[in-house]
């Protein structure tokens, strides 16, 4: 109690001087002729985008872009608290699965009018699935900045030993290959594939591949126990059940080392790991790994993956929306996108930037370019993050450990998802009654 008292007394003592100082500071800023734009970037992007600013300010001397870096781990909390206290910056970077939340909050504006009049930014310049993540109820709220998705990372030497000189193209091939790899390492504690149960992405990807919509009735009920998702879920859980994939996460404290030791030989992951694998797969292992697009359910269907990455969005509260748009156009120029790739290794969202020789000549990126033609967004509702991160993950682990059968787990998952979506159903009903 004493502790709290002291703390609050201190806070109290600072409030008045704080207000006075703030008042004077804000007067000062308003007197400047230059327009200052505040942009929030996350993690490495927020750090590195700073070196792109001079190129923009040189051609727009009256504009000053101030970049604030916020760490990824706290990004969502910080953005939502900033919204609640009316402190959002003019523009910010937003993981494209977060866009529905900020649209629900009415915190960002639709960009359709600017896009219509823009020569620079046009939906044809972008991968279709990625562009789609920014569209909510027919309006576009973000411009793709960089893209990512997940696909196969695999050990070429282990695959060859298992009799595969090509990566698997279908689910059956993936399963067969995993069986063969496990037979190679009989009596050794090694696995074929790593499907961490604390990641929802593989489960959702295979569900989407099996043609499940994940949710039903205008995204207001869960559809995980439906036949499509069940099929995909059972397929993946079988890898855990038959010890083709390790269960739990503490066994694998270092994914790269485990991959280099053949602790597992196949891993579903994204472009952020290319650089790390290059660092670990050295010497003899240098050319013993490759990337490949995801296998599909059968030989006639392509393997879909998730449309990931970050978009650029404009706050509703910003007074400098026109200026921000000019900044976005600058960041979307192909040569700036390439520059950005060199700075942070984030894959460019603008397709023409992929013609650059460094991207074209990187063998690990070829599969990504192919995969980006087949990416789809996750359900575009504010509740999706909670459903994916807390519920799907939870029941995937329960089923992988055999606490529940896949059928039971998915029924229980649907029940919880339906409860999360109760508010959404109520809001939809309210809206319908109004119309």
């Amino acid at each position: 109690m004493r502790y709290f008292l002291n703390r609050y007394q201190k806070i109290n003592a600072w409030i008045l001087p704080g207000i006075v100082i703030f008042f004077f500071l804000s007067c000062n800023f308003n007197n400047q002729k230059q327009v200052e734009v505040l942009f929030w970037g996350m993690g490495a992007e927020g750090e590195q985008v700073k070196s792109l600013i001079p190129g923009f300010e040189k051609n727009n001397p009256q504009i000053k872009v101030k970049v604030q870096m916020i760490p990824w781990t706290a990004a969502q909390e910080k953005l939502i608290t900033a919204y609640a206290s009316d402190n959002l910056p003019d523009a910010f970077q937003l993981g494209n699965t977060w866009i529905p939340q900020f649209v629900a909050l009415d915190a960002i504006v639709s960009l359709d009018n600017w896009i219509k009049n823009s020569i620079q930014i046009n939906s044809d310049n972008y991968f279709r699935g990625i562009w789609d993540t920014n569209i909510i109820d027919g309006l576009i709220y973000g411009i793709p900045w960089y893209v990512d998705t997940r696909l196969l990372f695999y050990r070429t030497d282990v695959l060859e030993l298992a009799g595969f000189n090509k990566p698997p193209r279908t689910w059956d091939e993936l399963y067969l290959l995993s069986k063969k790899i496990n037979q190679l390492f009989i009596n050794q504690e090694k696995y074929a594939i790593y499907l961490p149960t604390n990641e929802w992405a593989p489960f959702v990807i295979f569900g989407l591949q099996a043609n499940s919509d994940l949710l039903k009735e205008n995204n207001s009920y869960g559809d995980f126990s439906g036949p499509s998702f069940l099929r995909a879920f059972k397929f993946l859980i079988r890898f855990h059940k038959e010890k083709l994939a390790p269960i739990g996460m503490s066994q694998v404290t270092n994914v790269y080392q485990a991959f280099a030791n053949e602790y597992f030989s196949i891993y579903i992951s994204g472009p952020w790991n290319i650089r790390e694998f290059k660092k670990w797969m050295v010497g003899e292992l240098n050319d013993k790994w490759m990337t490949a697009p995801l296998p599909g359910p059968d030989s006639t269907t392509v393997g879909l993956s998730l449309a990931g990455g970050s978009s650029l969005v404009i706050s509703k509260s910003s007074n400098n929306k026109e200026v921000v748009w000019r900044f976005f156009e600058y960041l979307s120029q192909p040569q700036v996108q390439i520059q950005f790739y060199h700075l942070v290794s984030d894959l460019p969202a603008v397709k023409s930037a992929w013609q650059d020789s460094t991207l074209k000549n990187d063998p690990y990126l070829r599969a990504f370019y192919e995969q980006f033609q087949h990416v789809v967004p996750t359900p575009k509702i504010a509740e999706w993050e909670q459903i994916a991160f807390s519920k799907i993950q939870q029941y995937a682990e329960i089923a992988a450990r055999g606490v529940m059968t896949p059928d039971e787990a998915l029924k229980a998952l649907d029940a919880e998802v339906d409860q999360i979506l109760e508010k959404r159903r109520w809001l939809l009903k309210q809206k319908n009654e109004k119309n």
Binding site: F4, N12, L105, A382, Q386, Q394, R401, Q419, K423
Partner: protein, 293 residues
């Protein structure tokens, strides 16, 4: 007389104002919020908040994850609480003994974990617990025990957290116990020595009873602190495996600040408050009856 009282109020006023605005109002607001479905949508448009009465509390009692987190928290408090008090009392008695040299050094050493950053400590403990390369499994291996996946096995994760939490926290209680021990008059022990009491009898009949107020204080503080278990599992296991280390505060944090279900989160907070309140009352009651006996 009257002017004295108003002077007292005058001096207390800043503190009381601060407490009122920064403590009572948020608590009352949270209590009211716990009867609504305040969430992300309500943040955007306040009219989307619904007053839902006791529904948050009723849902809570049907929420398997809430029961799981409650069970985990009780497991932790019941196992780690007495263990932590026993270890700190033992350490205090050892350090208070006249036979021990370099007392200050030992006191400092035992206290260091309390002031070390938990994040740094957690990284070291993650290495200790590592199933394949960890030093703990290495030692167990010397005695022919099978390696245990400490943080990955649902049955071992909580014991692992308990071990680490006890190690991290016992130094603090130890210092309080040492202070309590130093307050016991030496002549009582001398009298016992004259009467031919052995060390166990001295401990049972002198040390423990005279340490009772200290023990009560320590056990209440420890219980309250342990019910609020958060950082250890948050860093070590993120509540996994199978939510076996998910504590109630961590669940509250997740619901509130990760998913913005503020109403639900506030309801969890008040259930936790109620549990701690009852726990403290029981301890007071027990102490009173044992004093009378």
């Amino acid at each position: 007389m009257n002017s004295k009282i108003s002077a007292a109020y005058f001096f207390m006023a800043p503190a009381l104002t601060a407490i009122f605005f920064f403590f009572f109002i948020p608590v009352i607001a949270a209590f009211l919020i716990s009867f609504t479905d305040f969430d992300l949508y309500a943040l955007a448009n306040f009219s989307d908040t619904r007053f839902i009465g006791l529904k948050n509390y009723l849902n809570l009692f049907q929420d398997p994850l809430f029961w799981q987190s409650l069970k985990n928290t009780f497991y932790f408090v019941i196992a780690a609480g007495p263990l932590s008090i026993a270890v700190s009392l033992g350490a205090a008695i050892l350090l208070n003994s006249r036979l021990v040299k370099f007392k200050a050094l030992f006191r400092l050493t035992y206290f260091i974990p309390v002031v070390t950053t938990l994040v740094a400590v957690a990284i070291v403990w993650r290495f200790i617990y590592h199933p394949r390369f960890g030093i703990l499994n290495y030692f167990l291996g010397l005695f022919n025990f099978h390696p245990i996946d400490w943080l990955g096995d649902p049955n071992w994760a909580m014991p692992a957290i308990i071990l680490m939490a006890v190690w991290k926290n016992f130094g603090y209680n130890m210092i309080i116990f040492i202070a309590g021990l130093q307050n016991i008059p030496e002549n009582l022990y001398e009298a016992a020595l004259v009467e031919g009491a052995n060390s166990w009898q001295k401990f049972k009949n002198i040390t423990l009873p005279l340490l009772a107020p200290t023990t009560l204080f320590v056990s209440i503080i420890t219980m309250i602190g342990f019910f609020q278990l958060f950082a250890e599992p948050y860093i070590m296991t993120q509540g996994g495996p199978l939510n076996r280390t998910l504590s109630i505060v961590q669940y509250m944090y997740q619901e509130g600040f990760r998913w913005w279900n503020m109403g639900y989160s506030a309801a969890i907070a008040f259930v936790l408050f109620f549990i701690i309140f009852i726990g403290t009352m029981i301890q007071f009651k027990l102490r009173k009856t044992s004093d009378l006996a």
